[in-house]
């Protein structure tokens, strides 16, 4: 059974949430009853105190968000299948599937095109494919990059962990945990110094909490009132350790709030709630009112890196991860989270709001699948890199000498 096609029925059967015809009404009632995120429901609810910004969006913007989340999902699934079943495929990924609503909801609130000195900048992590797509990078080029092709987004130098496209304000992925947060505050610093209303966003995992950079970034962002948004995607694990091994807070947002930074926990499985939080944070930053912290509670469907434990054609990894050695996340935990799938929730909400009907939603999904399949097909045709090019791009000009031959 395809979850997405039955979503409406499913929702009406299992949800005890208040109902309303209108988007506004739906959300207002949810808020008034103080409904909160609950793992036992498939329906997402507004946190009571979040503004209702999504509902004010035009239909095409809402549909775009759904489409973006779908693109991320199908990029993930297609790449996982490639890794699992195509022996010629060389790419790899830190899969983002399960977290699509976070990247999508945040980037939907940002300025993603225009001149470089006017767009908002996003700093990503070692798990960048979702952020890259949401920020607007060219997907075929990204697929080519991930497979080390010379016509890839970054000429085959970057691969997954360093994807970068300043043209859409995607400063890029970073393989290290920690450094990107202070660096991102630096972009915010520049915006403030220039009197620009641009905003800098950094995406980081729950693993970033323990890094010394967490303190540096938040403290200085607060002291200088920087237009900086820290999006902490709490997917419960950093590599193979539960976040309680490194963090004494249940809600990491509390740690940020201690700096005096407006901080909130948001349901990371509901793209519209993420958008609501992002909208407020972006508005605050543009108005010169300083930084925000958003903790999105979310979950990744695959293991930390690559596709161990996954099966081609199926979503998620439940099996053994040979890299985990001593600690595993429980399969039931994975399955429980998959009950609140961000794609399902987005679709159901739009259907519920009357923005899409099931046929429309299906059509979009079909389009997206085709687009992603084409991207991978195009990438697979791209040329490999020239060995000597490894000596270029060390500095802006020229190439460094070869030294490997003596």
């Amino acid at each position: 059974m395809d979850n997405t096609t039955k979503s409406k029925t499913h929702a009406s059967e299992s949800d005890d949430a208040p109902r309303s015809e209108s988007r506004r009404g739906f959300l207002k009632i949810a808020a008034a009853t103080g409904a909160v995120v609950s793992m036992s429901r498939t329906r997402a609810f507004a946190n009571g105190d979040i503004g209702y910004h999504s509902q004010e969006l035009p239909d095409d913007k809402l549909i775009d968000m759904y489409r973006t989340a779908l693109k991320i999902r199908w990029h993930e699934r297609t790449q996982a299948d490639e890794m699992l079943s195509n022996p010629d495929y060389r790419g790899y990924n830190h899969f983002y599937a399960g977290q699509e609503a976070v990247a999508t909801g945040i980037c939907a609130a940002l300025r993603n095109d225009g001149p470089f000195d006017q767009i908002d900048l996003a700093y990503s992590s070692h798990r960048p494919s979702g952020h890259a797509i949401a920020k607007g990078v060219d997907i075929p080029k990204m697929c080519a990059e991930n497979d080390f092709r010379s016509t890839g987004l970054n000429g085959g130098y970057a691969a997954e962990m360093h994807l970068s496209d300043p043209d859409v304000g995607f400063i890029g992925a970073d393989g290290m945990i920690g450094p990107s947060m202070p660096i991102a505050t630096g972009s915010a610093f520049a915006f403030r110094a220039r009197g620009s209303d641009q905003v800098a966003v950094v995406f980081g995992g729950d693993g970033t909490y323990a890094t010394p950079h967490f303190h540096s970034a938040l403290n200085n962002a607060k002291l200088l009132d920087l237009p900086f948004i820290y999006v902490l995607e709490n997917n419960l694990y950093h590599q193979y350790a539960h976040y309680s091994y490194s963090c004494p807070h249940k809600d990491i947002a509390n740690a940020a709030a201690a700096y005096g930074i407006p901080s909130r926990v948001v349901d990371g499985q509901d793209v519209f709630q993420v958008y609501n939080a992002a909208k407020e944070a972006v508005d605050r930053a543009r108005a010169g009112d300083g930084p925000s912290f958003i903790e999105a509670k979310t979950y990744r469907y695959y293991n930390h890196w690559g596709a161990p434990g996954a099966t081609a054609g199926e979503l998620g990894a439940f099996g053994y991860d040979p890299l985990a050695i001593t600690s595993f996340r429980p399969e039931r935990e994975v399955r429980a989270w998959m009950q609140r799938d961000p794609i399902d929730i987005a679709r159901k909400t739009l259907v519920d709001w009357g923005v899409l009907d099931a046929a429309g939603a299906d059509a979009i999904e079909t389009e997206v699948k085709a687009e992603i399949a084409e991207a991978f097909a195009w990438a697979a045709q791209q040329p490999f890199c020239q060995p000597e090019d490894g000596l270029k791009n060390v500095f802006a000009d020229g190439a460094v000498p070869a030294r490997q031959f003596g």
Binding site: R90, Y92, F148, S150, G156, Y157, A158, A159, M161, H162, D174, G175, M176, I177, G178, G207, T208, Y209, A210, T211, P212, H238, Q239, Y240, A241, Y245, S246, C247, I325, T326, S327, F384, C385, Q386, P387, E388, D389, G390, L391, V394, V400, P401, A402, R403, Q404, F405, G406
Partner: protein
């Protein structure tokens, strides 16, 4: 005695020291201190010594390294395994505190601490930060810290015993590319000194000096060259600080030809120090350096494999020199 891997050999030494000194501690981050080896019991420090002595922590390598330093100052031998991603996070505290503390306190500070610092650089496909091999030089310039880089399971175990028993702080570099090496390693504890290079092969025409992750390809190249009739002396530095000048000078004094091989970047790679030490002592010798270029390693395997020194390139350079 049994065939053991590099990491099993190391953990065997650590396990012995922890059994024999209840004060000793171990801190880790991603890589649980677990090793298995055919025909040998699994070593799991965490379960054997409990979660007060062996602790799994968050992503803060500077804290891990600092914590071990503080434990050692309190009289507890301490070791930690820093994954390559965090290899330079603790650099400042090692360089500016640990390396100077004995001297700054006029000899009062005792620091039985070992930082196992993973190095990568062996795998194509991971860009920049995940396939660089460069830490050797940074740490080797630091005074007051013994920087070693064993390249065989036997040395790895013996140097780990020596490092844990030393009152000096030790940066113990672990090139992850050596993971697959296996050799006969005694079960009982033994020490390999922290200040001696090893002559891996004797010869008269040429001296090749390398270390750590460079050694397997050097040995392969030496075999090829030997087959071609060249008499090659191969020196494995093993220790970057204090570097064993005598072994180097003796060897090149004999061969008058020195080829250095670094997987590290060219500029100020260990080979630079080797040549400089020899050139001030030996007259009339000829020199060549093979190294990774002064460029970050690119993701593309085509680019990366071409840039990385390997047996063929090393042999080519040797032929040009002799």
């Amino acid at each position: 005695m049994a065939q053991k891997s590099w990491m099993y050999s190391v953990l065997e030494a650590v396990q012995w020291e922890m059994q024999n000194d209840p004060r000793m501690i171990w801190i880790f981050e991603l890589t649980p201190p677990v090793a298995s080896n055919p025909g040998k019991p699994v070593i799991n420090l965490e379960t054997e010594f409990g979660r007060k002595r062996v602790v799994n922590t968050g992503i803060d390598e500077n804290w891990m390294a600092s914590c071990c330093l503080g434990a050692s100052l309190a009289g507890s031998p301490a070791a930690t395994y820093i994954p390559y991603q965090g290899a330079l996070m603790p650099f400042q505290v090692i360089q500016n505190v640990a390396g100077k503390l004995r001297h700054m306190t006029g000899g009062r500070a005792q620091m039985p601490v070992v930082w196992i610092i993973e190095m990568t650089g062996q795998t194509p496909g991971f860009a920049g930060q995940h396939s660089c091999y460069e830490e050797d030089s940074y740490y080797a310039h630091v005074p007051g810290v013994r920087t070693v880089i064993p390249s065989t399971p036997y040395d790895a175990k013996g140097m780990m015993h020596a490092a844990l028993r030393s009152p000096d702080p030790v940066v113990y570099l672990y090139p992850a590319g050596l993971r697959t090496l296996v050799e006969d390693v005694p079960d009982e504890p033994y020490e390999v000194p922290l200040d001696k290079a090893a002559v891996r092969q004797e010869g008269n025409d040429l001296t090749i000096v390398s270390s750590g992750g460079g050694m397997p390809e050097v040995l392969k190249a030496a075999e090829t060259l030997q087959g071609e009739g060249m008499s090659v002396e191969v020196v494995d530095l093993r220790v970057l600080k204090e570097m064993d000048t005598e072994t180097l000078v003796n060897s090149v004094g004999k061969t008058k030809r020195l080829l250095t091989v670094d997987q590290s970047y060219y500029t100020l790679g260990p080979g630079a120090e080797v040549i400089a030490r020899v050139a001030t002592e030996v007259e009339g010798a000829k020199y060549k350096r093979v190294a990774f270029p002064d460029a970050p390693p690119p993701a593309s395997p085509e680019m990366f494999v071409w840039m990385r020194p390997d047996a063929e390139k090393i042999a080519g350079a040797a032929r040009e020199l002799v």
